[in-house]
């Protein structure tokens, strides 16, 4: 009961703020402070999206974007996971590669999108490659950090009782890195939708990103806004799914309240 009350008291303030912002926006359009053909009202966007000739197409494009983001996210994360494990087990190679991986964190990978299109054309491959790349780096870097951050006391104990390299990896280092891995996965989840949309903008055949570009060019701001909102929803949903998976996997963590009490 207490916990539920707590949760509600955390949820309602941002919801009120969001509703207020939407209200102001609606009012601004209603009182003609901005022209409706430049900035549509929230109600107008919903109305347009619900039209029978718009909704099915929006859904079709959303499906394409979700597919692209999810496949790219899965592939990129898996690659990042495997490379991190390999590098961790081969410290010599790690020394050469790790600094570059850290550096890659500050490179906006989405700038590679036009290059991908130039090299691989307008098909699915260049888009997928971009999403894979974008998801790969944060997962790999977070995993490596987590694997290297193993508690020294635990490592000493595990070695003392006779754990070999593999036992150390599977029983100590990998589970210990789970928390970091999920931080990386959450970043990758949001990046995947972002990069998928950008890839679609460059080759606007299918997907919400492409639909958005075409609607903008066709002076249909309601549809652009609808596509943008759907992209945001997809991004939040994917992030939420990863956060949920984290909660299900990492059940050993002390509850937040307990941590506070200790501190």
């Amino acid at each position: 009961m207490d916990n539920n009350a707590n949760r509600w008291s955390r949820i309602w303030p941002p919801v009120v703020v969001l509703a207020a912002l939407l209200g102001i926006w609606q009012a601004a359009v209603a009182f003609s402070l901005v022209e409706e053909w430049i900035v549509p009202s929230p109600a107008g966007v919903v109305q347009e999206a619900m039209k029978p000739n718009v909704w099915p197409r929006l859904m079709e494009h959303a499906g394409a974007t979700i597919r692209l983001a999810v496949i790219g996210f899965a592939g990129g994360s898996a690659a990042g996971f495997v490379l991190a494990a390999l590098l961790h087990l081969l410290p010599g190679v790690r020394r050469g590669v790790y600094p570059l991986l850290i550096l890659s964190q500050s490179v906006p990978i989405v700038i590679l999108a036009p290059l991908m299109t130039m090299l691989f054309g307008y098909g699915l491959l260049p888009k997928l490659l971009l999403v894979v790349l974008v998801c790969f780096f944060p997962v790999c870097v977070a995993m490596l950090g987590g694997l290297a951050g193993t508690d020294e006391g635990l490592r000493r104990y595990m070695r003392m009782i006779g754990s070999g390299k593999w036992t150390l990896f599977w029983k100590l280092e990998l589970p210990g890195a789970a928390q970091s891995m999920f931080s990386g996965l959450k970043i990758a989840a949001s990046y995947s939708v972002l990069s998928a949309s950008i890839a679609e903008m460059l080759a606007p055949k299918l997907g919400l990103g492409g639909y958005m570009v075409l609607s903008t060019k066709g002076f249909m701001p309601e549809r652009s806004f609808a596509a943008a909102i759907l992209i945001i929803i997809v991004s939040l949903a994917l992030f939420g799914l990863v956060a949920l998976a984290e909660k299900l996997v990492i059940r050993w963590r002390p509850a937040k309240e307990e941590v506070k009490r200790d501190a």
Partner: protein, 257 residues
């Protein structure tokens, strides 16, 4: 059971060569409880690393169970100062993992863990994660884990150093009662002279930097140990003797930082 033969260990650092252990020899017989006391920084941790096989001595040998094990891990059961329970494994799961790493079949490891958790009254926590346990309870699990391990030599590294005085006293009594039912060879490192006198058959006093064995004391009290031991005149006499021995050394330690 354990024989350390003329072990020396030097580290080469930025500020030259540091001699940590010098010609240390000691034995722990089958079923014997031996304590090492010494000022902090006297190389006790290094000595444990060498005995446990984590570090190779610069010279000398380590024999466990009649076989040379210098530089080999896996021959000791270990209880560190921090309970060192894996946070993502349940209490029973932690015990089970350590036993299986030491070669016990998984099913037997599980059964042993549950059986003993019941005996020490922690069966309600078998499926709980370690963070819900108090410090004292975690140390009980950590000790049980070492006690159940098939290795016949137990290394206890200041196991109660992080506990408050009251809990510490209770834990000593508890450990002793468990050990007296299930005698194993134990080498205990401790700061506390009283703890060493209360628990062990023999006490080895180490000096600091480099660590040299300066005195060996056979503890004369019969087992099972009584609680009123603290008031025994011989107890106080021995405590004074060890204390003076350590103090002689402490002055030196201050100079070395």
């Amino acid at each position: 059971m354990l024989e350390v033969r003329r072990v020396s260990k030097t580290f080469e650092g930025k500020r030259g060569v540091k001699e940590v252990l010098k010609d240390v020899s000691l034995r722990v017989a089958e079923g014997e409880f031996v304590s090492l006391v010494g000022p902090s920084g006297s190389g006790k941790t290094t000595l444990f690393s060498v005995i446990g096989g984590l570090e190779k001595p610069t010279s000398g040998e380590v024999h466990v169970g009649g076989r040379e094990t210098t530089g080999e891990t896996g021959h000791v059961a270990y209880m560190p100062q921090q309970a060192s329970l894996l946070p993502w494994r349940t209490v029973a799961g932690n015990i089970e993992l350590s036993l299986t790493i030491a070669g016990v079949a998984k099913k037997k490891a599980r059964e042993d863990a549950l059986e003993w958790l019941r005996r020490i009254g922690l069966d309600a926590y078998a499926d709980a994660y370690p963070h819900v346990l108090s410090g004292g309870m975690q140390q009980r699990v950590s000790f049980l884990r070492a006690l159940l391990s098939p290795q016949r030599l137990m290394l206890l590294d200041e196991p109660f150093g992080a506990l408050d005085a009251l809990t510490r006293g209770r834990m000593q009594k508890w450990l002793l009662s468990l050990w007296e039912q299930n005698r194993r060879s134990v080498l205990l490192v401790t700061h506390s002279i009283e703890e060493a006198l209360y628990l062990s058959d023999r006490i080895l006093v180490l000096s600091s930097s480099p660590a040299v064995l300066v005195e060996e004391i056979v503890v004369p009290f019969e087992r099972p140990r009584r609680e009123e031991l603290w008031e025994d005149a011989r107890f106080m006499e021995l405590r004074g003797r060890i204390y003076r021995q350590l103090e002689k050394d402490g002055g030196e330690e201050a100079d070395h930082g």
